[in-house]
Symmetry: C2
Subunit: 223 residues, 2 copies
Amino acid sequence: MEEVRLIEVKEEIMSDNKITADDLRARLKEEKTFLLNLMSSPGAGKTSLILKTLETIAVELKTGVMEADIDSKVDAEKLVAEGYTAVQLRTGGFCHLDANMVSQGLEALDLKNLDLVIIENVGNLVCPAEFDTGAVKNAMILSVPEGDDKPLKYPLMFTVSDAMIIHKTDYLAISDFNVQMAKERATTLNPAIKVFEVSSKTGEGVRDWCNWLVGEVKNFIGD
Amino acid sequence: MEEVRLIEVKEEIMSDNKITADDLRARLKEEKTFLLNLMSSPGAGKTSLILKTLETIAVELKTGVMEADIDSKVDAEKLVAEGYTAVQLRTGGFCHLDANMVSQGLEALDLKNLDLVIIENVGNLVCPAEFDTGAVKNAMILSVPEGDDKPLKYPLMFTVSDAMIIHKTDYLAISDFNVQMAKERATTLNPAIKVFEVSSKTGEGVRDWCNWLVGEVKNFIGD
């Protein structure tokens, strides 16, 4: 198996993260590369959704992934094993990524040959919502086993996200998760949020989610 | 329904958290009150495990709960609705509790009449592991839908916990979660960790977990 590229990233001391993030977006626009920041709790299924997404859009877009983890590279290894382009960022204890960390990670990817880079942020429904990574759009996963009350408890995550994926819908049969309630709670916080119902296991809803993503990418890179 | 007591807690600027935590434990020893810090990802089932635990040990111990949330009081409301003693701490954006916040919360409880107080920490597998809350023991929940690879990705949480509850075991039938693998990964990080397999839904394993907890409480309060 190909060795996974591992980058130890450090937080920029006293930086103005917002300026770094805006600079990064301007650079991405020039490079014609769309950057998606994907956030969720641990275990909500970020890696499996990414795998399913890459597979589905492979004929349409050239893709790469930046995996972020506190202290492992298991996620990037999974992607590389499937033949995808991926680097692993190790945050060394940090609970989130900021724009400077993401810039360090992008240096390891050949942006000229990529239409879309997906950041798999650290598994955390709190801290990543507070930092602009420089991504063009933010998406978050709420998995069915987590419960439909999460917008009440982690409102910032739902407020900063452009899209919410209700994930692991195959668990709905044995769960008391109320899809309508989850949608209402999320759209109360953020009326513009796009909601998708997806099971990466069965493939349900994957195409809808990918259609939205591909549309956003093409719009940004001017294709 | 009784109104839930809500306390806005603030982080002590420039404090030495470890000293505050040790002072708190000394005070708890004098008061003969055991403090348990319960941590997990969002949606791993902290509140349902607490409800099941309180119900199971009601005849043995006098209990209270401190719920922590960034911005809601739904968890404490659930407990109070069931007739239990609970206060809600609102961290105002903070992703964890420290010992000073916990001290502020304990002031709202009548410790003289409580053998055990359970802290339901903020739903987060990263930050809460970094702060000593002053609790006598730390417990963490790993829920089956989250996956058995979490010890690899969030090692500190497994290292600082005295007990790990593998929760929602009723999901095992439709999940590829490997219990043996999760145990091995956790005990590699922390050979002393106690592991329990629990479903708050079916009641499976609840008694084992409660036996351990009651034993620890009685040992500490000298009963």
